[in-house]
């Protein structure tokens, strides 16, 4: 069954899907959803993986399918593209602020402590609990925190 929906509605649905590993931001915020196109009664949604080995990508795909079908949309196709490769440059300032509020230092050349905003920080490990994050420590407030790596 083909249901008449607008592109904006699809984007609204996608914006409600949180990143499974960083629920403070949505998959649209992170730039994972690249395109929504209507063609021949089909809704084509294109997504791109963050890191090649990101285990969350198949989960995100399932969440998109679940969200569409819950809203009675069955005429969709989900495509994956690698080009252009995903980059943190696609993140808006608004999204970076969301990360910061969630205690994750956003991507950028200068890393600030998300708690006290100092630049007096040090790297503990270049690899954190997920591929996209590094582990830091604040030398002022002594809190450990994650940094979303510039990529």
């Amino acid at each position: 069954m083909v249901k008449a929906v607008s592109k904006d509605f699809i984007w609204e649905l996608l914006e409600k899907i949180p990143d499974p590993e960083i629920p403070a931001v949505s998959i649209v915020d992170l730039g994972i959803t690249r395109e929504v196109i209507f063609k021949d009664d089909q809704i084509h949604i294109t997504i791109t993986p963050t890191y090649s080995g990101c285990p969350a990508i198949s989960f995100m795909k399932k969440e998109i399918v679940r969200s569409l079908e819950q809203n009675g949309i069955n005429n969709y196709q989900i495509h994956t593209t690698l080009s252009p490769p995903w980059t943190t440059d696609w993140m808006s300032d608004e999204v970076k602020a969301k990360l910061s509020d969630a205690g994750i230092a956003p991507p950028g050349k200068l890393v600030h402590c998300p708690q006290c905003d100092t630049k007096n920080v040090e790297v503990i490990s270049e690899f954190g609990s997920t591929a996209c994050k590094a582990l830091y420590k604040c030398n002022d407030c002594q809190e450990p925190f994650h940094h979303f790596k510039q990529f």
Binding site: S52, G53, L82, S83, P85, F151
Partner: protein, 251 residues
């Protein structure tokens, strides 16, 4: 099959990533400390992801409803064409770091050239790989410097690793028939041409790390022809066990 040579080419690149990933994953929960355990597992995941892209493409080229999983789990040792370095056992931490350092330095150069391939699919996989490999290279080269310029014990171990693994580096730059055909079509990489830059990188890092590079010795080759060291079979027996025991089992 649409293009046998291209299939063989993509498959060999997929095998490099898959076997490297499986090998590195064997460090999970065994690394010297927690941060490094996570680092090695994350690098392994990136390589599994790369293997997946390449093997899916190879499966598509092969046709006949082949899947990436068929290629990973249902081929015998002699059908794998990864570079021998990828299958080398992890050994101690210095052995793994040196193995990754040699491969990361090579991957950086290889994927940079491959990103200009006439084959759009390969070019986009390569562009994705460069970004990750740059990070992996930083990790492995920093460790080579820290260990080499570290204590007497760490220096000795990393030097031994270089001496033992050097024999597998010659294969990085040995062109096969498939390589030559792919290079002429501007799809593949002239691997021989990467050697000068690779040597320079290795020399610079080793100098900083106060390590010696062995005199050019005998080079062990054969991976691209399916002639492997005794280690690959053991790795596959573990990796393929489930699909061999319970064919087509799914989650």
């Amino acid at each position: 099959m649409r293009d046998t040579i291209l299939f063989k080419y993509v498959l060999s690149l997929g095998d490099d990533a898959l076997i490297s990933a499986q090998r590195l994953a064997q460090w999970a929960y065994k690394a010297p400390f927690l941060e490094e355990d996570i680092a090695l597992s994350n690098i392994s995941l990136d390589l599994f992801g790369r293997a997946n892209f390449l093997l899916e493409y190879a499966a598509e080229l092969k046709g006949e409803n082949t899947t990436a999983d068929d290629l990973a789990f249902k081929r015998d040792e002699r059908k794998f064409t990864n570079l021998l370095m990828c299958e080398h056992p992890n050994g101690n931490f210095a052995d793994t770091i040196v193995c990754r350092f040699f491969l990361d330095a090579y991957d950086k150069l290889f994927f940079y050239t491959l990103s200009k391939s006439r084959d759009k699919q390969l070019a986009s996989i390569a562009a994705k790989a460069i970004k990750e490999t740059t990070y992996h290279y930083r990790h492995s080269s920093n460790w080579v410097i820290r260990l080499g310029d570290g204590t007497e014990g760490s220096h000795r171990k990393v030097q031994e690793a270089i001496n033992n693994l050097w024999t597998f580096t010659g294969e990085f730059f040995k062109m096969t028939q498939t390589d030559i055909v792919m290079m002429k079509k501007k799809v593949g990489v002239d691997r021989k041409a990467l050697k000068i830059e690779w040597d320079k990188t290795i020399n610079d890092v080793c100098k900083e790390a106060t390590l010696r590079i062995p005199e050019n010795s005998f080079m062990t080759t054969g991976g691209r022809e399916g002639i492997h060291t005794e280690h690959l079979g053991h790795l596959l027996s573990d990796m393929q066990y489930l699909q061999r025991a319970y064919p087509d089992a799914t989650w």
